[in-house]
Symmetry: C2
Subunit: 183 residues, 2 copies
């Protein structure tokens, strides 16, 4: 069990997704993309398309549950094949009713630990919408930096064309830091 | 027929790829990725994997031929789904024996024209290896800028971990320029 910064009363269980989580994942996915403000997926994406992406065999999918209810999910995969496969990519979704609970950070910490365990050297987010200030603030506090700006690359449902950021952090440095702590 | 800057004796025919081009495309693909210096694909990628990527239904594939021999190929597709689908992505491969002939530029000009015709507002390259100076020089002369740097994101066969660039150019501005020329 992982306790988030929101307080000791909030305990999350993170685990690999099972086939039986499909309904929960789709409920979260649908609610998040329907707003058209953070993800590129078409706001009216079908369940099949969404699950084909999120549960793709090349990605590891995890869910976060509290009292048996799945309220968040993330995927972790190589960002590129072959000679770029040492850099991880990840994507996170939290049920809208659960936002602000600290679950994003809980999942991100779990994800970074998993990425290190799997031997990735870095993590990259390819498309962080520039108006998604909460996410950007979170990623910065977790060691990610904006390493690229894609002009007008996101068609925000309310704001029109806005920039998207590429964010990146090394994991190799942390491994050394961990080692130093242990020595 | 398109004449490249290499001289009037070099005339290229560019056309959409047909199923019968698979052998030619694989020959080029294999030779390019075997060097492990410009593309992330595993240098020993299989023919099936390579063609599944290059001839994916979501991409338009074109070939460039001279005297009936296919010596170059490129793919053009949306870089993201849904709310990011207004930005194009493209990738180009030239048979190693043909490099330096100007075919890269010929294909790139054709590709930009196709992207405009299809209504894309911009074009993005997600992963230009920083040591691929010839390509970077070409993209710069064609209006692309480096908008992001991915630290150590490419494992170069000879040089080890080197940076990769994200390059981007607007197509919207050009459309206005075209319109002004016509008015």
């Amino acid at each position: 069990m992982i306790r988030s910064s929101a307080g000791p009363s909030v305990a999350w269980k993170l685990r690999p997704a099972a086939a039986s989580d499909s309904d929960s994942i789709w409920t979260i996915f649908k609610a998040v993309v329907a707003r058209g403000d953070t993800y590129v997926f078409a706001p009216d994406i079908s369940r099949d398309e969404a699950l084909a992406y999120w549960l793709h065999p090349s990605a590891r999918c995890y869910v976060a549950e509290r009292e048996g209810v799945v309220l968040g999910t993330y995927v972790l995969k190589p960002n590129q094949p072959g000679l770029g496969a040492h850099v991880a990519n990840a994507a996170f979704m939290v049920a809208p009713t659960t936002q602000g609970s600290g679950l994003g950070r809980v999942m991100a910490e779990h994800c970074l630990a998993e990425a290190r365990r799997l031997g990735f050297r870095a993590m990259q987010f390819n498309f962080v919408v520039s108006t998604n200030e909460r996410a950007i603030r979170l990623w910065r506090t977790m060691g990610f930096e904006v390493v690229g700006t894609l002009p007008g690359a996101f068609k925000h449902t309310e704001k029109g064309y806005v920039d998207a950021y590429v964010m990146f952090r090394s994991l190799a440095g942390d491994v050394s830091a961990d080692r130093r702590t242990c020595s």
